[in-house]
């Protein structure tokens, strides 16, 4: 479940503990998924192994957990979320069912998407998570439409729209932000800047001052935050979400973080200077949150208990995914379309 952090008057420790739990859950989920994805796909010099439980490209958000946790702590279940190809963290933080998610990665009928989407298209509509997306920036127009729909229907729901640093160089970023602004839609745009567009450093590919500057250029208020400091992300998200709920229209948050793993799980990221990674790991969001908890006087045993609990959750999800039956082949013909469905050749 998403942490219940609706009380803005929580003490810092009370605020931080559920955020830490969400981040620890994401980390444990992705560590387990990474392990189960050895040989998942032929890329980056790796060959694919038919025995791999998780198939295809697995994009890990390791090191970026504070962005997902800090934003989603300020959303309700009724709020919507659109994600990227790197969407496990957003989905977990929005409160999706962990076992159903792991089953999805394993291609099981009990998966969130009945095994039809996998990691890259994971979705849980029951918690407003409208889908990860295999196309960079493609979630932006969908998020804008969901917000437009909420406005038309008189719903109080807002939309959190996650995208990466690479997405700001695609047209839908400009189109979507402009649209959200002219219709004053309730969207929180979150540029989760992990500094890499696949194997390419995004900086070298981006003119000007990036996402926040571009947003301001079309009249959308924008803030920047240390995306590895979960309390800072949470505080900033709380402020921006409050503005959106008060009717101030779209807002953008640029959260600077770091992609600890490669582009996909089989990518060793050999194109990167190892010292860059070492230095980034100093700022690991879980490590920072642990230090902060200790400084706030939270007992180490309390933190260790959370670590154990989330590990147990993930172990249970893994066991369930291993034993769940694979999606039935007949499912291939379901949910294509009503009219014109079937085994046409």
């Amino acid at each position: 479940m998403a942490p219940d952090t609706s009380e803005a008057n929580d003490s810092p420790a009370e605020r931080l503990l559920p955020l830490y739990r969400t981040m620890a859950r994401i980390r444990a989920f992705e560590n387990a998924a990474e392990e189960a994805s050895r040989g998942s796909v032929a890329a980056f010099g790796a060959s694919s192994d038919a025995a791999s439980m998780i198939r295809g490209p697995l994009h890990l958000s390791t090191g970026q957990e504070a962005v997902a946790a800090g934003i989603c702590a300020n959303l309700t279940r009724d709020d919507y979320l659109t994600s990227t190809h790197r969407g496990h963290g957003h989905t977990l933080a929005k409160g999706a069912n962990i076992t159903a998610m792991m089953c999805e990665l394993f291609g099981r009928g009990a998966g969130t998407n009945k095994g039809k989407g996998g990691s890259m298209h994971i979705a849980d509509f029951a918690v407003g998570m409208l889908g990860a997306n295999g196309v960079v920036a493609a979630g932006i127009p969908i998020a804008v439409g969901a917000a437009h729909s909420a406005k038309i229907r008189g719903s109080k729901a807002i939309v959190a729209c996650f995208f990466g640093d690479g997405a700001i160089n695609r047209g839908p970023f400009l189109e979507g932000l402009n649209w959200a602004k002219i219709f004053e839609l309730p969207v929180l745009f979150v540029c989760e800047d992990n500094r890499y567009s696949a194997t390419t450093a995004t900086d070298a590919m981006t003119a000007g001052d990036g996402a926040a500057a571009r947003a301001r250029g079309i009249g959308i208020p924008a803030e920047s935050v240390d995306g590895n400091d979960v309390l800072a992300v949470d505080a900033m998200a709380r402020e921006l979400v409050a503005r959106i709920r008060a009717g101030a229209g779209p807002q953008l948050l640029h959260a600077l973080t770091y992609r600890v793993k490669g582009h996909v799980s089989v990518d060793a990221a050999a194109y990167r200077d190892p010292r860059e990674l070492e230095s980034a790991l100093e700022g690991d969001p879980l490590k920072l949150a642990g230090l902060r908890l200790a400084a706030l006087g939270v007992a180490a045993a309390t933190v260790a208990k959370i670590d154990t609990e989330v590990r147990n959750e993930i172990d249970a999800a893994l066991a369930a995914a291993h034993s769940a039956p694979a999606t039935e082949p007949d499912e291939a013909y379901a949910d294509v379309q009503d009219l014109g469905a079937g085994q046409w050749r």
Partner: protein, 327 residues
């Protein structure tokens, strides 16, 4: 029964759907002012700017936002002006609208109608004159509709809005002003072809603007003693195999004519299916694989005229047909 233009018929169908369901909205460039062909005339006045939504020139986001609207409880009708412009939204159509229901395991449905008019629009040259229905028929998840008459534009647009899955609704760019009787009760349903003219010697299958060329060719053939059955396919996907196979088995040969480029056109799919199923002679007539040129002389090369279709029909009967031949 009312006499309406093809554009008025569509407008009337959309207005009816918007009156019946507050979740139906229209969005796209210039819809607030009635649309550039008058196919949204009066709708903003009746339903307001929040449901008849003028948008920026942002095709990707028009379509992508419609997907987001559809996933969250609305039934958007998307205006793309011409199919050629919808190519700026191809990711949103093919990877998002068409895939979401399946890819998310049925959690989400995408009940939207995207209006992508096809056909040669006289004098508008290469980027405003394409007929790309076969592209969309190729994509699982999409329904593809090509109305040829005002009555069908009324009935089929209403049916498309009700469909529940993404519908690529392809009106013809030059039929907006075509007038015809439109019965108040819909006379067409999705997926069902219509025998537009009965005949016994040959089945001539067509759709959209080319239907009218086919009917004219059949009329001339009749003067020469050949009885041509003309079928209006109406829906490209799913296409009405039953009606087509029944007619073709009766007449013993099938000619498919369409305005789209013949190579890899949807006529090839139909001809192959009929040949496989019935083993009868089949033939396709479509445009040469050239862009549509601006000059009238060039545009005419890219068009199938009545005379050309008649000539192709004669040659087919003389060389391949089993029943009758023509001079």
């Amino acid at each position: 029964m009312a006499l309406m233009s093809y554009a008025q018929a569509a407008c009337s169908a959309l207005a009816g759907a918007m009156r019946a369901d507050a979740g139906v909205v229209a969005l796209g460039e210039d819809v607030g002012n009635g649309g550039v062909f008058g196919q949204y005339r009066g709708l903003r006045e009746e339903f307001g700017a929040s449901r008849v939504i003028d948008t920026p020139i942002s095709e990707a986001t028009i379509m992508g936002a419609a997907v987001g609207m559809a996933l969250t409880g609305l039934r958007p009708v998307v205006e793309m002006r011409v199919v050629d412009f919808a190519l700026c939204a191809i990711d949103e159509i093919v990877n998002q609208a068409a895939k979401n229901r399946y890819m998310f395991g049925g959690q989400g449905r995408v009940p939207l109608v995207a209006r992508l008019p096809i056909g040669i629009w006289s004098g508008s040259a290469a980027q405003h004159s394409q007929s790309l229905e076969a592209w969309f028929a190729h994509i699982p998840g999409l329904v593809v509709v090509t109305p040829a008459t005002p009555a069908d534009n009324y009935a089929l647009l209403a049916a498309a809005i009700e469909c529940g899955d993404p519908v690529i609704y392809m009106e013809h760019k030059e039929l907006w002003g075509l007038e015809g009787e439109v019965p108040p009760e819909p006379t067409a349903v999705l997926g069902k072809a219509r025998i537009a003219r009965g005949g016994t010697d040959l089945t001539l299958l067509s759709w959209s603007g080319m239907l009218h060329t086919a009917l004219a060719a059949a009329e001339q053939a009749a003067l020469q003693g050949v009885s041509v059955e003309v079928i209006d396919l109406r829906t490209i996907w799913p296409w009405d195999r039953e009606t087509v196979l029944e007619s073709a088995s009766r007449t013993g040969c099938l000619l498919v004519a369409h305005e789209a480029v013949q190579a890899a056109g949807f006529g090839a799919e139909i001809a192959a299916t009929v040949a496989e199923a019935l083993g009868i002679p089949v033939k396709r007539v479509g445009a040469a694989r050239i862009p549509v040129g601006y000059a009238r002389t060039l545009e005419n090369v890219a068009r199938i005229s009545t005379q050309q279709l008649l000539q192709e029909l004669k040659e087919f009967l003389n060389n391949r047909g089993r029943k009758r031949s023509m001079r």
